[in-house]
Amino acid sequence: MAPAAAAHFMPPLDRPKIQVVPLRGLPIVGAAVLFVAFSIGFNWQWGLVFNHVVGGGLWTGIDLFVGLVIGPILGRLSIPSRAEFSARFMPKMVIIMPTVVMMTLATGFQVARSMGNLSASNPNHAWLVVSMCVVGVMAVVALGILEPANIAVLYEMNKPVPNGERIGRLMKRFIYTAGITGIMQIATLIIMTRLGSR
């Protein structure tokens, strides 16, 4: 095989199949969904604030840590090391990120409503609308671009002979959108700390 083509196709590895959705994590996701539902249903203020603050903190923290710390380290690893790390890391992200996003967004609206920030006459209203726009951009990037790529990479890695070039192409989506996500997350930190301190 020519070197260029050989570089595109990773050799068959003696490795266990990747579980795209880690089933052991699903009970935790179920518990989080129930916690959010009960908090909204019973107007449980502590539950709403807990889900919003913890979910939002994890969402922002994980996004920035992965984008600014893990990503550059991963980029400097050898291809087999990168593949091995991704095979263990990405399935966990498949259940962690949608869960923290759900916790943050579902309760955020309720927290804003209970604090009166949704009212147009409230001085925080404009900040809140800006925050919704920031979240909207992040949602489209995450759900429309990154999550499909994440799952496609995991499927590709489960093939007997994964196509390294294709995985690299899909992973480029993370690099291209890292800047947008980083800026949006920093904007979220500024908006939320400003809202919390007024």
Binding site: M1, A2, A4, A5, H8, F9, V21, V33, V36, A37, I40, G41, P98, M102, L105, A106, F109, Q110, R113, L118, S119, A120, L128, V129, M132, C133, G136, A139, V140, L143, G144, I145, E147, P148, A149, I151, A152, Y155, E156, N163, R166
Partner: protein, 141 residues
């Protein structure tokens, strides 16, 4: 080795497809904008004409994506179906949670109908994008 062996062994998987993922992501983007519009007016009633227009265009984009999908002859339908149904389950739960929040907040009438339809578009568009992205690189069965 022959020159044939230096070409990728699975050329079908990388051949160009219609921009189905972009249409479904476009539909998602429009309902997100519509959702922001409705939420930014809450608890007042948002201008429903603009929200309805965004919703109609989103539904149109989703229909275009579905039509283009149905026209694909060589495609990994098995993989698409498997991924789509699991993703649909996940996003129906997410959409259900958002719907619950709106109903709980006493959203009623036309606003609730528009929110519900936007959530239906949301719950269909994300699984479509995910399943198409995965299946386009899978071996057609």
């Amino acid at each position: 080795m022959s020159s044939a062996s230096s070409s990728p062994p699975m050329p079908d998987a990388d051949r160009p497809y219609p921009p189905i993922g972009w249409f479904s992501t476009g539909a998602l983007g429009l309902v997100v904008v519509g959702g922001i519009l409705l939420a930014s007016y809450a608890p007042r009633v948002a201008p429903l004409a603009l929200a309805t227009t965004l919703l109609c265009v989103a539904i149109g984009l989703l229909i275009v994506a579905a039509v283009q999908l149905s026209r694909l002859k060589v495609f990994a339908w098995g993989t698409f179906t498997t991924v789509f149904k699991w993703a649909l389950l996940a996003y129906v739960i997410t959409a259900g949670m958002i719907e619950f929040a709106f109903v709980h907040d006493h959203t009623r009438g036309s606003s609730l109908v528009i929110v519900t339809l936007m959530l239906v578009v949301f719950a269909l568009s994300v699984p479509t994008t995910i399943a198409f992205t995965v299946a386009r690189f899978a071996d057609p069965n």
